[in-house]
Structures are given as structure tokens and as C-alpha cells.
């Protein structure tokens, strides 16, 4: 994903067991913080044609 130019911090992988509630909360917080820094994603978002596409 980062190769085509999406920011690395938008994609996270984590292995969390159903028993690891605290880890889950921590990861979710981290993800949210990192994505907040980046702001709204503008790349790879399809703009739907609403008018003459030329």
C-alpha cells in the first residue's frame, strides 16, 4: 500500500486475542492518533462522476 503512495500509518496489523481487551483498546487508540495526525485521506478515494466527465 505504501508503495503506491498511501501513508504508511493508515494501515495497521495487529494480532489480538478476544481475551486481550486492554491491548485492543491500546491499539485502537494508537491507530486513531496516527490517522488523526495524517488527517482525512485524499488518495485512492473515488470521486463519483456527477456531471459531464470531461
Amino acid at each position: 500500500m505504501e508503495f503506491v503512495g498511501l501513508e504508511e500509518d493508515r494501515l495497521h496489523f495487529s494480532w489480538i486475542s478476544s481475551a486481550e481487551a486492554v491491548k485492543f483498546a491500546d491499539v485502537a487508540k494508537q491507530v486513531a492518533e496516527k490517522v488523526k495526525v495524517l488527517g482525512p485521506n485524499k488518495k485512492f478515494v473515488k470521486r463519483y462522476p456527477t456531471k459531464d466527465t470531461e
Binding site: Y48, P49, T50, D52
Partner: protein, 348 residues
């Protein structure tokens, strides 16, 4: 008919002037060579090109065109009503197209504007468009346009024809639309020598075309004879069924209609389609009359060189531009296939 002569040094100025009242499309030099596309304001169509990979087809039949939009959101005004997409009515001109590409536009018109039915999307683009041709002094080796009832200097489908005469472009305004464009661009009037010079250049250019096809015997054969001819599997073996030939072809007119929806809002659009693709011919039942790859290739050639010929009785559905020949990844050559068809002798 008005003669035109314009110094090359004045060309950019004339195009700048004409852009006040016209939107232009034309050849532009980019990194990989010339492409044909809509021009931005201030861009000049570059007439010093040899060929463009894509043709003028994009201007009258865009690869993707939104037909109408709709919303199912009951909070929005006009919900559940198909809304026409606004169309820019500014006159447009395709500047610097090859004369045989203009013939291709006429072929497209046969499909989209019949006596009974007029496709509104094609029609509005067609009626709005002035075709300013640039004759080709040095046709490419794969060009066989003179065999297809047109040629590098064919005036029949253009509004203006221009030709390169050294340090100036000379030509003629051929129609009313052409005269309007010439006036808007402020093209200087040419002298009486223009006609003779054009004829001379035409003869030279046509003489350079060595590539020929004939279809005189295809006309007399039955569809079934040709359809069942034994050479198709071999002729089409190499075909990988990509859409290169159909998209590059200025006369291939097939399209596919798709809805694109996001939430409750959507548009219906039409996109170029290609008969080379399996999803083109597969029926909703799952049956596919052209399941084998070679059958789809056969269909393309049969359509261009036989079905069209029989239906319209006005030559083949090909203007001999040679784009499919030079762009085909596996070197399937319509000239060779056409010859094969024409030379075929069905056993009685």
C-alpha cells in the same frame, strides 16, 4: 469554397484567437509522442505530428460518458427523477485530425444517427463539432486508407482541410461550419495557387501508400461461407483478446452501459466496450455464442469487413488508419485477414 493560407509562425496566434469561441481538441506532444485529446485553454494543436495513438473518436464518443444522474434520497429535491447531465454547448473543433479519421466519424454517425433513431449524446457532440483536417504528406507504412474509400487528403468528411506546404499551411474551408471556424481563427485567404499545390501534395502522398487491401470478392460471398471458412482459428490463434484494436479503432462504436452508485445517489454512464472480451457476448442465461477466443476475433473482422459492408452497402467499416496494425501486441494484421477473406474460395 474559400482558400486558406497561414504562415506556420501565425498558427499559435490563430489558435489562441479561435479558442475565444471554440473548445479545441487536437494532437499534443507529450513525453511518449503525440496524443489526441481535449486541449486546455492556451494549448495549441501541434500539426507537426505523424500519428496519434488514439483517434478523434474520443471527442464524439468519449470512453466514459455520464448519461444521467439520479437520487433515491427522499430528502433531496427531484429524487427518483432522472436528471440530465449538463452539456457545454460551446462549439467545439477537432483540429489537426487526419482526413480518414473524419471519414471514421461519418461511419460512427451511420450507427448513432439513423433516419429513425438519433442518439442524443452522440448527436449533440457531432452537431457541435467542426472537423479541421490536417492532410498527411507522409503516410505511415501501415496506412492503407486509399483502399478504404478515403485517403490522406480526402476532403469528403471534413469542414476544413489543411496541408503542410513548407513554411505555411494551405487549405480550404469546405463547409459553412469550416468557413465560420476559419473566420474565427482569422485564417488569411489563400491565392489561386493553393488548389494546384494541394492536388500536387495529394498525388505525392497517395503515391507513398504501398499498403493495399481489396474486398471486392468479400461482397459477393455469403456470410455463412465466410463465417465457416477454415482459416479463422489459425488467423486468430495469436489473439489475446485484449481491447487494444477496438479502442484504438476510430470506427469501433460498441459501448456498455453501467450504473455507478454511491449510497442513494448514482449515475448511469456508458463506456467503450470491446467485442474481444468474453463479458461482451455472454448472455444473461450464461450462454455465450462466442465462447472461444478465436470466435470473438472472427466476429470483429466479420463485422468490419462483411456485416457492415452488406448492411450499409458503402464499403468496409475501416478507414485504413493502421492503428490496430501497429498497436496489436501479437501482430494480427487486418490487411492480411482482409486479404485472406477476399481470396477465400468456398468449396461448392
Amino acid at each position: 469554397m474559400k482558400m486558406i493560407s497561414i504562415k506556420k509562425s501565425d498558427w499559435a496566434g490563430a489558435m489562441e484567437k479561435v479558442q475565444k469561441s471554440y473548445r479545441l481538441a487536437g494532437p499534443v506532444k507529450e513525453k511518449k509522442g503525440h496524443t489526441f485529446r481535449e486541449l486546455k485553454d492556451g494549448e495549441t494543436p501541434d500539426l507537426e505530428y505523424s500519428e496519434t495513438r488514439m483517434s478523434v473518436k474520443e471527442v464524439v464518443l468519449p470512453q466514459s460518458e455520464v448519461m444521467f444522474s439520479y437520487s433515491l434520497d427522499e430528502n433531496k429535491e427531484g429524487h427518483h427523477i432522472l436528471e440530465e447531465v449538463p452539456f457545454d454547448e460551446t462549439p467545439r473543433a477537432a483540429v489537426g485530425i487526419r482526413p480518414y479519421d473524419a471519414k471514421a466519424v461519418e461511419i460512427l454517425k451511420k450507427n448513432f444517427m439513423t433516419e429513425d433513431y438519433k442518439d442524443p449524446y452522440f448527436e449533440r457532440r457531432y452537431e457541435n463539432l467542426t472537423l479541421v483536417g490536417m492532410a498527411e504528406n507522409n503516410p505511415s507504412p501501415v496506412n492503407f486508407s486509399t483502399s478504404c474509400g478515403t485517403g490522406p487528403f480526402d476532403e469528403s468528411c471534413l469542414d476544413i482541410i489543411l496541408a503542410d506546404a513548407g513554411d505555411s499551411y494551405i487549405g480550404k474551408a469546405l463547409t459553412e461550419k469550416g468557413e465560420k471556424f476559419a473566420a474565427a481563427a482569422g485564417f488569411a485567404e489563400g491565392d489561386s495557387g493553393v488548389e494546384a499545390k494541394l492536388a500536387e501534395l495529394k498525388e505525392q502522398a497517395e503515391g507513398k501508400i504501398k499498403s493495399k487491401v481489396s474486398f471486392d470478392k468479400i461482397e459477393k460471398m455469403t456470410i455463412l461461407d465466410l463465417y465457416e471458412a477454415p482459416f479463422w482459428e489459425e488467423a486468430a490463434f495469436a489473439c489475446i483478446n485484449c481491447g487494444t484494436c477496438t479502442y484504438a479503432c476510430p470506427t469501433c462504436w460498441c459501448f456498455d452501459i453501467q450504473d455507478e452508485v454511491k449510497g442513494k445517489d448514482g449515475v448511469r454512464m456508458r463506456n467503450w466496450d470491446t467485442c474481444m472480451s468474453e463479458v461482451y457476448s455472454v448472455h444473461t442465461t450464461g450462454h455465450d455464442p462466442r465462447h472461444e477466443a478465436w470466435q470473438r476475433t472472427r466476429n470483429r473482422f466479420m463485422h468490419k469487413l462483411k456485416y457492415y459492408l452488406d448492411k450499409y452497402e458503402d464499403g468496409i467499416m475501416c478507414v485504413g488508419c493502421g492503428r490496430c496494425v501497429s498497436q496489436c501486441p501479437v501482430n494480427i494484421d487486418i490487411r492480411k485477414v482482409c486479404q485472406q477473406m477476399n481470396d477465400y474460395e468456398p468449396s461448392k
